[in-house]
């Protein structure tokens, strides 16, 4: 049973992926592709509406070695933050 991790304030985002409206597995696949476009240590922000991403993105980060920084609720969607390894 996983707790929701809240992202710290003031993160400097290098790139934003808009995955709103997409459902499983597209948010994660687009994230996998998008993270190739930033440098190591930079942060990718993912905007999504699929609650499944709450499991998929942290799970994938743990496997791929990226640092999952947490999520933030916005109005009608969720922002996820990942620091590239």
């Amino acid at each position: 049973m996983s707790d929701v991790k809240i992202a710290p304030d003031g993160l400097e985002v290098a790139r934003t992926l808009d995955a709103k409206g997409l459902s499983c597995p597209m948010p994660l696949l687009r994230t996998k592709k998008e993270i190739e476009k930033i440098n190591s240590g930079e942060i990718l922000e993912i905007l999504g509406t699929d609650p499944g991403s709450r499991n998929d993105i942290p799970g994938w980060c743990a496997r791929a070695g990226h640092e999952y920084l947490g999520e933030k609720e916005a109005d009608g969607y969720i922002c996820f933050y990942v620091r590239k390894k």
Binding site: M1, L22, S23, M26, L28, T49, G52, G59, G76
Partner: protein, 388 residues
Amino acid sequence: MSSFAGKIKEVYSDFFKKTWSPMTGGILLALLAIFMFAWQRPWGIVGGIRNWADWLFYSIGLFDLDEPPAHPLYYSSSVMDLGLLAGAWISAVIAREFAFRVPPMLEIYKGAIAGILMGFGATLAYGCNVGGFYSAIQNLSANGFTMMIGLIIGVVIGLKYIYWEMEHFMPGPAGPTFLSKLPPILGFIAFAGLIYAAYAYAGSDVDDAELMPGYLLIGAGIGFVFHRSRLCMVNGFREPFMTGEAAMGKAVAISVILGTFGIAIMKFMELRAEELYVVPAFWWGSLVGGIIFGAAMVVAGGCGSGSLWRVAEGQVKLWVVIITFALSNSLFRYWFEENDWMEKLGKPVFLPDYIGYGGSIFLVIVAMLIWYIIIDWNEESNKLVLEI
């Protein structure tokens, strides 16, 4: 006192807000599949949604049937699906995860086409991933294994398509998200409504009225467990090839084994008919149907069960999937039956007739453990993962 109140809050959060692990979901699903079988019949999905479409086509005069299709409110498959929708909706609302989410148009088109293919695949395989694979194996019917092989092949094809699509298409802007702030109390009110409906069924004088409460409530339990654990058979088959993640696939494998024990016991003891869910789909109908269904469910983002609980969560793409899935399955099934093709999809093979109950259960365990070990090994080695 404050720590006791804190404890209540913590337990509430564990049950209703946090996502359960896939394995918790898989074990509970097996238990509920056994309950359903003990109640009356195997758990299935596609029969119910096909019934809704049959009913529509019959009403507009397209289907020439001797008698009207069973009423959706008094038909076991349909009531199980309605229960699943209710249970998943209750879970979603209580966890504040319900919202209508309108996807980009590309996703709508994909959902529509994938649903049509799922309807065709489920016709060939005599069921979706539940009736054709999950419940079929638990009922010791050989077509469950051939559909599993088909699903694995299909998932790889579907994934290759999605990779290709990502290189060539951008999804465009998403539609709105709305009704995201439903108060959780609505979930508890709906639960009370379910109990009321169960009693209303039991007290009514329709045929099999006494059976309907079980279909409804066990179905709702299945929907609740699915949503709480986000148990997804697409994920279980797809992830080993996409990210290497094996948690969901392992949960499905264990769930199949556990359910098999319960159902095999009831068949062996002659508490239930042995021929239940043993359909003439071995081998080619279930294999080819599995490939088509497997590829389509990846593009849809949900299988029979997974699409249904995501409908209850408000994902509009899956609404499209379920609608075209139902329409297409109803039409293909009608067409096949008109031509007597449903008997030509293969042979009915009840495994214990060939290798005994012990041999059959052993085969289920071995097959599932092989799959379990392969995906577990792949989780570390990533040998099966297809790169984008």
